[in-house]
Each structure stands twice: as structure tokens, then as C-alpha cells.
């Protein structure tokens, strides 16, 4: 049998750097072989790259206005919105093979995701935090207290990317560009392709801009990360709990660390969304939230609170959700799992079975002869993280105000809440959730699709990266005296 072969360089370095020979990793399925090429990097090389990045940034990126930067990035995004663009086609072919995600789902989600980086979305993104199309990033601007202020991005950002969801890395990469900072990035071998291809397009459009980015994959260890931290003044780390903790511990106090770590999403369904008219749609959308990228993004729900008193009962809700998950599986099958991931699902199912022996109201809905999807229904208040990969807990609830004590212990892990509820109760609920640390509320069906102005994990995106320099009013006034021509 002949199989197709695609070779991809899963790295990018400035054009004025040459590296040694490339190493190859091969990933294949029945019909396709993917060869991933990357250089084995050393500490000396990291230090050298860091110097070059800073020079390149000084010579070019720093001279651009925010609008010009947005222009370039949006041209990249526009290329990617074209279904016939060859790199998009490469991504659509290769990412399902390397990640195991369903090919049709990847296609759809990449298409949606890339739109976040078109001109209008980027402008909104910058305006939501910096205002005035990012003018304060370009020049000293008059401020309300008198005087002038300007934002400065980091001298060099060291980014440690996660590999759970294709493209997720582009967020912080683009944030770096918008604040005019060079980025040295460590790619995850789980998903290095999307960032590598995106920067390749960037280089096609403006190679000097791409010259302030170096992204390279390496296996997590000690030395190289240490070098990355040493050369940078700001560290951005995304990933699991252990990875984030480990990096944070290594960063000296005088450097800035932004971390995006382990988070849990959940859904709240009010009885008004469970009327005969609306319940099929509500459930279908929740099934989508659970199924997109198999809950590997921190945005996806792991528990669902369903209010009693709707047109369908909470156990009926669970049964219908199970059916929808089954439909979704037929349309977009879940990724093939590692043994440990399958076992985690089996354990969740066992625990639910054991619970239902003691409490016959507890019900398990599970895909037959597979771990494809699982719904554990608990007819009481509770909260639980799930083993992911399309497994979810459903809890019955009488009143949303009861959630406070249930969610409180998990406060630091809460992130997105998908909510289906009438406007009358929305703001009361939002207040409760906001106090509990929930950073984002979205409609159900949209949990995995963030808006371009979102505050990642409840933080500012650009504002957290920059520092401010003020020219105070006194100086502005005093300096007038030193004008030789003053009257």
C-alpha cells in the first residue's frame, strides 16, 4: 500500500540564523505519513537566538505602529480563511493525524478560530484593553491626569505553549506581536503544527516581522527552559498544573510570569431553557460544548447543573444528552485515547455504578462497547471534574443560589460557565458566579468559542504584558521653560 507523505518543519527561526541538521519524528496512520522536522537546540543557541530576536525587534517590529502590525496579522488570517490556501490544507490534513481529533471537526474549528485574527476582530481586541486603536503602544499619549503615558511591551517574551487544542498558541503569540515584543517560544510536541504554519504564513507576508519570532519544540527538561527564562524578562506559560508550577518556581522575582493553567468549565441550565420548544436545541448545544476537542480545552464543561421543574425532568435531560452525544459521535468521532485516559473513563463509570447501587436515583448513560461518551446523572447537588474526552456529570438543582457552597471549594479552578437562563435571572446568577471566580459566561453551544475581546482566565491580555511610562504634568510644564524660544 502506498501512503502519502507530508514533511513539516515544526519550528521557525529568524532568517539571519542558521541551525544544525534537523531531527525527524514520524507519525503515521493507515494512509498518511507525517514527518515532523526540528533542530535539536542547545543552551548556547537559545542565547544566540535571543540576542538576534531582540536586534530584529529593535530594527523593525519596534518601528511599526499597532495598526501596521494588525494589518500584517490580519493578512495572515485572511489567507487562512481561504479554503484553498495550501498551508490551511496542510493543517487540515496533518493535525487530525498528529492529534487524533476528528478531521471534520478540526476543519470546522480551525476555520472558526482563525476568524478571531481578522482586522475587525484584532481592532476590537486591542481597543477593548488599550483603547484608541492601540495608540498608547505607538507613542506617548495625553492622559486624563495631565501629562503623557506610553505602554512598553517586554524586551523578550519566553512562551511555553501547551498542545491540547490546535491553534490555542496563536493567542499569546499574537499578543506578543501586538505589544511589539519578540517571542522565544517552546512548542509542545503534542501540537506544534498550527503555530509553526501560522508563523510560516507571517513570514510569507512580512518576513522581517516574523524575524522577531523563534518557536522551537523541545522535550521538557531543565536546562533549556532555564536558558529561556534567563534571556527573557517576561515568561508566559500555558499547560497542566505540574508544568506551570515547575516553571513558576524557576522564574526569579524580578521577572514577570503570566500563567494559564488548569481550569474547569461547567453548564447551568435553567428550567426556562427546558420548555418543549427549547429543550432539544439546548441539549444539542451542550453536547457540542462537550464534544468539541473532546473537552481538552479548559473552556469545555465537565459538570452540568440542571434545574428541576422544566418540561423535562433532570434524568430525562441526561438521557437526551446521552443521545445527542451519541449522534455527535456518529458525525464527529472522538479521538482514539491513551490507555490511561480510557481507564479514567472506566473508573468514572464504575464509581457511578457503585453510587447507583446505594442510590437508585443515580444513573449511568454510557456508549456501548466503547468509551466514546459518558453521562453520569446524580439527582442531587454536587460538583465533579470529569475524566474529559466526552464524559460529563449532571447534577439536579432546585435553585441556582445553592451553587455557592458547592462551587466555593473549586474557586481557583473555575473558568467558563455555559448558561441557558432568562434575562431576568441572568445578572443575579452572574453576580454569584463572578464572586466565585468564574471568569467567563457564554451561551451554551459557544463555550469553546471565545470572543475576540475575552479576558483569558479573568485577566487582561495586553495590559498584563505591558508596563507604563508616564511623563508627569510637572515635567510637561517645566520642560516648556527650556525651550530656547519660549517667550
Amino acid at each position: 500500500m502506498t501512503s502519502k507523505q507530508t514533511t513539516i518543519d515544526i519550528f521557525h527561526i529568524p532568517t539571519n540564523i542558521t541551525l544544525n541538521t534537523l531531527t525527524e519524528t514520524i507519525i503515521e496512520n493507515e494512509s498518511h505519513t507525517v514527518v515532523l522536522r526540528y533542530p535539536e537546540i542547545s543552551v548556547t543557541e537559545i542565547k544566540h537566538i535571543a540576542n538576534v530576536l531582540q536586534t530584529n525587534q529593535h530594527d523593525y517590529l519596534d518601528q511599526l505602529t499597532t495598526s501596521q502590525i494588525i494589518d500584517v496579522i490580519s493578512q495572515v488570517a485572511e489567507k487562512w480563511t481561504d479554503p484553498t490556501y495550501y498551508l490551511r490544507q496542510v493543517a487540515e490534513t496533518v493535525i487530525p493525524i498528529t492529534t487524533g481529533y476528528n478531521a471534520d471537526q478540526v476543519k470546522l474549528e480551525l476555520k472558526r478560530f482563525i476568524r478571531l485574527f481578522r482586522k475587525k476582530e484584532l481592532k476590537r481586541f486591542v481597543n477593548s484593553e488599550i483603547g484608541h486603536a492601540g495608540a498608547m503602544l505607538d507613542d506617548f499619549q495625553p492622559n486624563l491626569a495631565g501629562g503623557f503615558s506610553k505602554f512598553f511591551g517586554p524586551d523578550l517574551i519566553f512562551q511555553i505553549f501547551s498542545g491540547n487544542v490546535p491553534g490555542i498558541q496563536l493567542w499569546t503569540l499574537i499578543m506578543g506581536l501586538l505589544v511589539k515584543s519578540p517571542t522565544l517560544g517552546k512548542l509542545s510536541f503534542s501540537e506544534p503544527i498550527m503555530p509553526a504554519l501560522f508563523v510560516q504564513t507571517l513570514a510569507e507576508i512580512d518576513s522581517r516581522l516574523a524575524d522577531s519570532i523563534a518557536i522551537l519544540p523541545w522535550h521538557s527538561g531543565q536546562e533549556l527552559e532555564k536558558a529561556g527564562i534567563e534571556v527573557a524578562d517576561t515568561v508566559v506559560v500555558c499547560g497542566g498544573e505540574i508544568a506551570v508550577k515547575k516553571i513558576k518556581a524557576q522564574v526569579p522575582l524580578d521577572k514577570k510570569v503570566l500563567s494559564y493553567g488548569y481550569k474547569i468549565g461547567f453548564v447551568i441550565v435553567g428550567r426556562e431553557a427546558l420548555t418543549p420548544e427549547y429543550y432539544p436545541q439546548t441539549i444539542k448545544k451542550i453536547a457540542e460544548d462537550i464534544s468539541i476537542y473532546d473537552q481538552q480545552s479548559c473552556l469545555a464543561p465537565q459538570s452540568i447543573f440542571v434545574e428541576r421543574g422544566g418540561a423535562i425532568t433532570t434524568d430525562e435531560f441526561s438521557a437526551l444528552l446521552a443521545t445527542e452525544l451519541n449522534n455527535y459521535q456518529i458525525k464527529y468521532s472522538r479521538a482514539i485515547l491513551q490507555e490511561s485516559e480510557k481507564l479514567a473513563i472506566e473508573k468514572m463509570r464504575q464509581a457511578t455504578d457503585i453510587e447507583s447501587i446505594e442510590n437508585s436515583r443515580t444513573l449511568l448513560f454510557a456508549s456501548e462497547d466503547s468509551t466514546s461518551w459518558t453521562v453520569a446523572f446524580h439527582d442531587h447537588l454536587g460538583f465533579s471534574a470529569s475524566p474529559l474526552n466526552r464524559s460529563v456529570h449532571v447534577f439536579s438543582i432546585d435553585d441556582f443560589l445553592q451553587l455557592q457552597p458547592i462551587l466555593k471549594p473549586y474557586q481557583s479552578y473555575l473558568q467558563t460557565a455555559g448558561v441557558a437562563i432568562a434575562p431576568k435571572r441572568l445578572f443575579t446568577l452572574a453576580n454569584v458566579l463572578g464572586k466565585l471566580g468564574v471568569s467567563r459566561m457564554s451561551a451554551v453551544g459557544q463555550m469553546n468559542h471565545v470572543s475576540s475581546a475575552w479576558h483569558h482566565d479573568g485577566h487582561f491580555n495586553l495590559l498584563d504584558l505591558v508596563r507604563v511610562t508616564d511623563i508627569e504634568n510637572s515635567l510637561e510644564v517645566e520642560s516648556e521653560y527650556f525651550d530656547a524660544d519660549v517667550e
Binding site: 500555558c238 481507564l343 473508573k347 449511568l364
Partner: protein, 370 residues
């Protein structure tokens, strides 16, 4: 009711006696019939297990083959009281050492020890000392006197009572290994050319070898001596590969690999499985180190994705069907990953929980964090 359990126990004792040395042509049918009777008895008398079976849409009318028995997850021994009889009258109860969660231990009630003892004695004789009647046993693990409610301690006490010579001893006192007396007893046995069976859990041997690292010692145990090891490193922090451990033990004691045997047992089951090397050796056959279940135990390796039997040579979850578990649940889904081949099966290790790839936190990680 006690009549019924007496009948079951009598049939089990007879079955063990009948098949302990080898299987006849009626064996498969006999095993299945007895398994169905035990399941019927458990379905009638073990209420939580009955509910579990019903959840799986199984009952004595629908299940005809032991392979189809509802497999209770081992976790259920922690959460539920699983017994066909009044647990307050149980002769013994085994607690697990809390391998993953110290707060929650498995409880295995043994209402009557007769079958348990028959199973232990017949298995030990067949697989560990097939050519001997007695042997001097040096145990590195506590016996029942200092460690009640441990299935391994009862196992050791029984082994020493039934198969131990008068020189047999336990070298675990006051929560630690009594190295000094152990060494002198080993030297004594060596001087007398007396065969010994050193019995310990894997982590006992790790400690012992660490001690010998600091206090260098080697022995030249009499030919036919046996190193008996049980368990892996469940819940223990040290990770040592079995092959390294056995190589080091072989060197310290001057014992060949063929004389080192591993036993698979756990709190929730009543019958143990052993490596087949000593039985192979006694029959002058090629020696394999795979495990073989005794005649009153069957196993299946299940695909983790489907929970259906998986082909030979592939990893899967070990399902354990132990007739001697007549008064709790005979069909158990363990958390051990195993592989089967034509010679037997091998335990790969305890199933590990899953870790999420990125920022999404999976339940196992959350438990670790909290």
C-alpha cells in the same frame, strides 16, 4: 440459609481437591456449573452485588457462562459491604493497606475460612513447593499476630503452620525488618545446607537490598532455596523494575532466576496466582515466568476501550473469576493491566489515572491538587 452456604462450601472444597493436581476432560463443564451455582447464591444473598448485576442486565437466568458474569469493580469493596452472610459473624475481615486512598480501604469479609484455607494450601503446594512437603520459611512481612486483618499476613501464618519447618520465623518486629536476626538465621541455614524460602513483599526486598548496600552481605543459600516475592510497588514511591530486583536478589542470595517466584494476590480475592517457573522446573519442562491461575480461578484480559476480551499479546484489564470468593463476588474487575500468551499471563502494573494534555484539568489531577 446456612445449609445453602454449607452445600456451596462442600462443593468448592471437593472441586479444589479434585482439580488441584490437574484438569480432566470434565473440568471446564464442572467449573462452569460451580461458577453458575456460586453466582446464583451470590445473586440471592449479596444484595449490593445483585443490584450491580441488575444494572448490567444480568441475572442467573440470563448468565450461562462464567465469561458473562457481571464483573464487580474492585473499588466496590471500598464503598459497599459485599457479603452473602451476616458480616458481624465473619471469621475474618481483610482490609487493604489503602493503596491509593489511605482513608478508604477495601473490606473483604470472610464468613468461613475453610475454602480460603483450602485454596491457599492447594495453590501454595502446587506452585511453590511442588516437590517438597515442608520448607524453612523466613518471612520479611509480618504474620497475623502483629498484623491482623491483612490477607497477606494470614497467608504467611497459614503457610508457616502448614508448610513451615520448626526453624521458620518472621523477621518483622515493631514495624521494621529485623535485619540482624535475619542475617544470622540465613547464615545458619547456609551452614547447615538447609533449604529456605524467603518470603516478602516487593518493597520488603527493596529495603533489604538497600540495607545490604550499606552493610555488604552475600549468601550462598542451599540449592533448592526459593525467593518468594509478592506484589509490585502499589502505592509505594520507589519504582524498581522486577527484572532488576530479581537480578539483585539472585546475586545476593546466590539463587538462580528459576528459583525466584512471584505471587499475585490481593485483599479482595481469595485465591492467588503464581509464576509457573517452579512447577515447570519440577516437571522438567521448559521454564516460563508467566502466571497461571489455579483450577478454581479463571481470568480474562479485557480491552480497556470495550471491556471485551482482547486477543493474546495485547494489554488489557485483568478480570478475575475466583470460585473461592464464594461469599462476596466471584467475578472481579481488577485495576491491573496484564497481557496473556499461550503460557499464561503477566501483570504489567497498576492502571494509572489520566492526566490532561493541556489546561483542562482532569478529575484525577484535581484529586491530587486538593
Amino acid at each position: 440459609m446456612s445449609d445453602e452456604s454449607d452445600v456451596i462450601q462442600a462443593r468448592l472444597v471437593k472441586f479444589i481437591q479434585q482439580y488441584k493436581e490437574g484438569k480432566s476432560s470434565e473440568y471446564e463443564v464442572d467449573f462452569n456449573q460451580l461458577a453458575m451455582s456460586v453466582f446464583d447464591y451470590q445473586f440471592q444473598n449479596n444484595l449490593p452485588y445483585k443490584k450491580f448485576a441488575q444494572l448490567k442486565h444480568k441475572n442467573p437466568l440470563t448468565v450461562k457462562n462464567w465469561q458473562d458474569l457481571p464483573l464487580i469493580p474492585i473499588e466496590a469493596y471500598k464503598q459497599l459491604t459485599l457479603s452473602t452472610r451476616d458480616t458481624t459473624q465473619a471469621e475474618d475481615v481483610f482490609y487493604s493497606s489503602g493503596t491509593t486512598n489511605a482513608q478508604q480501604k477495601s473490606r473483604h469479609y470472610i464468613s468461613d475460612l475453610r475454602v480460603w484455607e483450602q485454596s491457599m494450601i492447594a495453590g501454595f503446594k502446587q506452585y511453590v513447593i511442588p516437590t517438597k512437603e515442608k520448607i524453612t520459611i523466613f518471612s520479611l512481612f509480618p504474620d497475623m499476630s502483629s498484623h491482623p486483618n491483612s490477607s497477606l499476613s494470614r497467608y504467611i501464618t497459614t503457610a508457616m503452620q502448614v508448610f513451615g519447618t520448626e526453624n521458620s520465623q518472621v523477621f518483622f518486629k515493631h514495624n521494621q525488618l529485623d535485619y540482624v536476626n535475619l542475617i544470622s538465621a540465613l547464615k545458619q541455614a547456609q551452614a547447615n545446607h538447609e533449604q529456605v524460602l524467603v518470603l516478602g513483599a516487593s518493597f520488603s526486598y527493596v529495603h533489604l537490598l538497600a540495607y545490604f548496600d550499606q552493610h555488604p552481605q552475600t549468601f550462598d543459600l542451599a540449592e533448592g532455596s526459593i525467593i518468594f516475592d509478592t506484589g509490585g510497588f502499589k502505592g509505594q514511591s520507589q519504582e524498581v523494575s522486577m527484572s532488576t530486583l530479581y537480578k539483585n536478589l539472585g546475586q545476593v542470595f546466590n539463587v538462580s532466576r528459576e528459583q525466584i517466584i512471584n505471587m499475585y494476590g490481593m485483599t479482595e480475592i481469595s485465591s492467588q496466582c503464581y509464576d509457573r517457573n517452579l512447577i515447570d522446573l519440577s516437571q522438567n519442562q521448559s521454564t516460563y515466568f508467566d502466571k497461571m491461575p489455579p483450577a478454581w480461578v479463571k481470568i480474562q484480559i479485557l480491552d480497556v476501550e470495550t471491556l471485551q476480551p482482547i486477543e493474546q499479546g495485547k494489554r488489557g484489564l485483568l478480570a478475575y473469576y475466583d470460585l473461592a470468593n464464594w461469599d462476596t463476588c466471584l467475578a472481579i474487575l481488577t485495576e491491573d493491566i496484564a497481557i496473556q500468551n499461550e503460557h499464561g499471563f503477566t501483570i504489567i502494573g497498576r492502571a494509572k489515572g489520566s492526566e490532561a494534555k493541556g489546561c483542562s484539568i482532569a478529575v484525577d489531577e484535581l484529586l491530587k491538587v486538593r
